[in-house]
Subunit: 476 residues, 2 copies
C-alpha cells in the first residue's frame, strides 16, 4: 500500500512518507498504513495500551533510518522503534499517532572476525538467529530467554536484556562491543567499533544500552561471542525453608561455576502439575525449588557437585533432589522452570519484575508475602525468578470470583506496597523488562529525583525535540 | 600547616580553604599548601608537565567532597582528583593553579555482602588492598596490573583500568556494580547500588567509569568479587612469524579458557637478558614470545593444553616452549613479561598504548614497523602487550647518540603516523591509559568530531562551570 492510498493521514506524516519514497529510495513495501499493520506493529506483548500509530516504516539501512529521523525532526513527528515486539513494559507501543520504525528489514548478519569472536549484526536480527549463527561457528551467544525466537537484538540492547544465564554470562551489555546509532538529532555515531579496550572518553555506547530507544535508535551492533558450554548438567533441588535456598546457592557457588541458579515455589509447581505437561520432580512436594546448571566436562566436577549436594542434604537444607543424566533429561528438568510463565497465564497474573541484592532476597520475599497475605488474603502469590542475580518475578494470581478490572485496580494498590518494599531494600522496580510506559509512574522508587533530572538533561543532548520514543521511561 | 600560614594563596582559594575548616569540619591535616606537598600531589607518573596546584585537600567523606565541589563552583576554582598518581596520561596532573582533591584519607573498606560477593569501598582504597581483602574472604579481585600496589580504585574506575587478566575477566567496568559520585554541580548520586539487573533508564554509572573525573568525582563504589582462580599454569612459547602468534592464540582459545595471553618481542627479551634479572626461556632466541596462563585444576585440562601445544609444534608455529610445574615457576615465567617496562625504562622509551581488533593486529604491527624502519632507521622498536585483547604497547627506544629533547620531538612526528595507522584500522589511541592531557591532541583519531561534540554536551550536563579536572580528555 502506498501513502497516497490513505487520505486520512495527517499532513505532516503524509509529507514525510512522500519524501521517503521520492527522495530516500523507500520502496512501496517499506511503508504500511493499513489498519491491520498499524494494529500489528503498533504494540508489544503489553496489553494495557491500545495501539494507534499513523504509519509503519521499514528502513533497510542506517542511512534510511537517519532520513526518517531528520524528516521527523523537521515535521515534528514522534517515532517509536519496533523490534520483535516481545516487550513487557510497553516500551515499543505506539499509542499516540507515532510513526513506527520497524527493524524487520534490517536483519542481516555482517562481517565475522574469528580471532575476535566478534560479529556485526543489524538491529533486526532475531536473538535465535544470532544464537544459530554462533552455533554454526562452533561458538555461543549466551544471552537467552523465553522470547529468543522472536525478540530482536535491537530491542535486547534497548532494554539490556538479561534472562536465564546472567549468573555466568552477565547482561546483554557485556556482549555489545560496538554500536551504530542514529541519535535523535539525526547524527550517525559508530561507537567503540568492537574494541575490548578503548579509554578515549565517555563510553556513549553504554548510554544507548538500556535507553529503550529514547536517545536514538540502534541500527547495527558488534557482538562478542563465547565458546560453547560443555556438558551442561542440571540439578533440581527441593527445600522447605527459604533461608535454605540461599544456603544452597552459597554452598554450590563456593565450589562450582554455575551457569544458572533459578528459583520457583510450590504454587508454581502446583499449577504446572495441574497443567499436566511436566512431571513432578520428587515424590513429595516441597515449598521451594531451585534449578541449577553447570558445565561438567570432567569427572571431578561431577564428583564435587555430588559432594556439595550430599552435604546440603546432611545439613537438612535440601529435602530431595534430582540430577540430569543426559541432555534430554536436562531439557526435561528445564521445563519445570520454563513452562511456569505459560502455565500461570490462565490465572491472569499481575507480574512484577524486581531485583534487590541477593543478600536481601529472603527479607524482601518475607516482607512482600506478609503484606499480600495480611491485606489481600484472597490473592495467591507465585514466585519464580533468577535468584542468583537477585531478580524475582512476583506474580499475583487473580481470584476466580474477582473481575479482571477489579483485580488490576487492586494490584495497582498492591504495587505501591511492593515498590515501597523495593525502595526499602534499595532495589529496582524493573530488573530486566525496562520502564517503557508501564513502569514510568514508579521510576522514582528506584531513581532519585536528582538522578531523573540528569536523565532528562541527557535526553535533551541527544534528542532535543523529544521525538525518539516519546513518553517512555519518563516524560521529558 | 594551616591555610593562614600561606599568604601567597589566591584570595578565592584562601576563602575556600577557610570555609572548609570553619564550616565543614576539615582538620588541619586535611589541607596542605607547602611546596613539597604541592609537588608530590600535583602530578602522576607522567613527566611532561610541571605540577602547579595551589592547595591539596584530603576529604574524609562524600559530604566533604560535596562541600569542596560546591565551594569550588561558588568561587570559580578548578579541582583535580588525585588517587595513587600512577597514571600515564597526565589525567591527575594539576598544572594550572588547581586545588587537588586527594582521596588518600578515603581508604576504608565498608560493608561486605557474602551472598552477592560484593563489597563497598571508598575511592582511595588501593588496588592491592582490595585484592588482599578479597583473598581474606577466599575470593578474588581480578583486575590486576603493575601499579596495583599504589593505584587507587577511584583512579582505576576513572580510567576503566584493564591490565593483564582482561581476556578472562574484562575491564574494571565489569566489576563496578555501584558508584557514589559527586557531580560537577555538587549533587551526590548513588548509582545502581550494587544490583546485577536494573533496567530503569540510562545507566549513569557507566558514564562515570572512564570519565577521568571530568563529570564528577567517584567517592565510593560497590565492587563485585570473583572466586579465586585454581592451579594457574603458565606457558611461554617462542615463534618466528607474527602470524603464528595469532595461530597459537586461536588454537589455545578453541580448547582452553585462557586467563592471560601476553606478547613480547625479541627486543624486549634482549633487554631483559642484558639486565640480568630473568633467565632466557629457551636455548635459542625467537622473534616473538607469548605467555599464556590458564586454570588447570583437573588433569584432563593439562592433557588438552599439552595436546594443543604439540599440535602447534607440529604445525611449525611454535619453535620452543616451556610450561610451569609449580607456582614458583609460574611466577618466574611471569617475570619475563612483568619486568619489561622497568628494564626498558633506561632506554628512555616513548610509549604508546593502542588497540585494534585482534584480527587487525598482524597488519597493524606490520604497518607500524614499516613506517618506523623506513623513516627512522635509527629507532629501535620494542613491542609488548595484551594481545588477547588487541592491546599493544609500542615502545620506541631512544638512540644513544640523540638528545632526549630531539628524540621526543621526533616521536611527536612518529605519533602522527602511528595514529593515522590506528585510525586506518578503526582502533583506539588509548587502550587503557586514558586521555588526560597527553592524548588530548589525538582524541579525534579515535572519536569523530560529532562524537566529541556529544562528549562536550554531556560534560556540560554534569559540570556546567567546567571545574572538574578541566583540560583533561578535551577542552570543554
Amino acid at each position: 500500500m502506498t501513502p497516497s492510498q490513505t487520505p486520512t493521514l495527517p499532513e505532516a506524516v503524509q509529507t514525510l512518507l512522500t519524501a521517503l519514497t521520492t527522495e530516500h529510495q523507500f520502496e512501496d513495501n517499506q511503508i504500511k498504513t493499513d489498519a491491520e499493520s498499524l494494529e500489528h506493529w503498533g504494540k508489544d506483548w503489553t496489553k494495557h495500551f491500545a495501539p494507534a500509530p499513523t504509519a509503519i516504516v521499514f528502513p533497510k539501512t542506517t542511512e534510511q533510518v537517519q532520513s526518517i529521523v531528520k524528516l521527523a525532526n523537521a515535521h515534528g513527528i514522534v517515532l517509536t522503534p519496533s523490534g520483535g515486539r516481545t516487550g513487557l513494559s510497553a516500551g515499543a507501543v505506539a499509542a499516540d499517532g507515532e510513526i513506527v520504525v520497524s527493524f524487520d528489514k534490517m536483519n542481516r548478519i555482517g562481517e565475522f572476525y574469528p580471532a575476535d569472536r566478534l560479529v556485526t549484526i543489524e538491529a533486526g536480527v532475531v536473538t535465535e538467529q544470532l544464537q544459530q549463527f554462533a552455533e554454526d561457528k562452533d561458538l555461543y551467544y549466551p544471552v537467552d530467554f523465553a522470547s529468543a525466537g522472536s525478540s530482536q537484538m535491537g530491542g535486547n540492547i534497548g532494554t539490556n536484556a538479561g534472562g536465564i544465564k546472567v549468573i555466568r554470562y552477565g547482561m546483554t551489555r557485556q556482549w555489545v562491543m560496538g554500536l551504530t546509532v542514529v541519535t535523535g538529532k539525526g547524527d550517525i555515531l559508530h561507537l567503540n567499533r568492537g574494541m575490548i579496550k578503548n579509554a578515549t572518553g565517555y563510553d556513549l555506547r553504554q548510554l544507548f544500552i538500556g535507553a529503550e530507544g529514547t536517545l536514538g535508535f540502534v541500527t547495527e551492533a558488534q557482538i562478542k561471542l563465547e565458546r560453547q558450554p560443555q556438558d551442561l548438567t542440571v540439578m533440581v533441588l527441593g527445600m522447605d525453608e527459604f533461608s535454605d535456598v540461599m544456603n544452597v546457592l552459597s554452598a554450590f557457588q563456593a565450589k562450582i561455576d554455575l551457569t544458572a541458579f533459578e528459583f520457583f515455589d510450590s504454587v508454581a509447581v502446583e499449577k504446572l502439575m495441574a497443567h499436566g505437561q511436566v512431571q513432578e520432580p520428587f515424590e513429595s512436594r516441597t515449598k521451594f525449588y531451585t534449578l541449577l546448571e553447570f558445565e561438567a566436562p570432567y569427572e571431578p566436577i561431577m564428583d564435587k557437585a555430588m559432594e556439595v549436594f550430599e552435604s546440603c542434604m546432611e545439613s537438612g537444607w535440601v529435602v530431595d533432589g534430582v540430577m540430569s543424566q543426559s541432555i534430554a533429561q536436562a531439557e526435561e528438568l528445564w521445563k519445570l522452570r520454563e513452562y511456569i510463565s505459560e502455565t500461570i497465564s490462565v490465572f491472569t497474573p499481575y507480574k512484577n519484575d524486581v531485583s534487590v541484592l541477593i543478600s536481601h532476597v529472603p527479607d524482601f520475599i518475607n516482607d512482600i508475602d506478609a503484606i499480600v497475605s495480611s491485606n489481600y488474603p484472597d490473592f495467591e502469590v507465585c514466585w519464580f525468578g533468577h535468584i542468583g542475580d537477585g531478580n524475582l518475578h512476583l506474580n499475583i494470581l487473580k481470584p476466580d470470583n474477582m473481575s479482571k478490572d477489579d483485580f488490576f485496580a487492586e494490584c495497582q494498590v498492591v504495587n505501591k506496597h511492593v515498590f515501597d518494599t523495593v525502595k526499602k531494600y534499595g532495589g529496582s522496580v524493573s530488573a530486566e523488562h525496562g520502564v517503557g510506559m508501564t513502569k514510568k509512574p514508579y521510576l522514582h522508587y528506584s531513581r532519585s529525583e536528582t538522578e531523573i533530572e540528569y536523565l532528562k538533561a541527557i535526553k535533551k543532548v541527544f534528542d532535543p525535540n523529544n521525538i525518539m520514543n516519546r513518553g517512555k521511561i519518563f516524560d521529558a
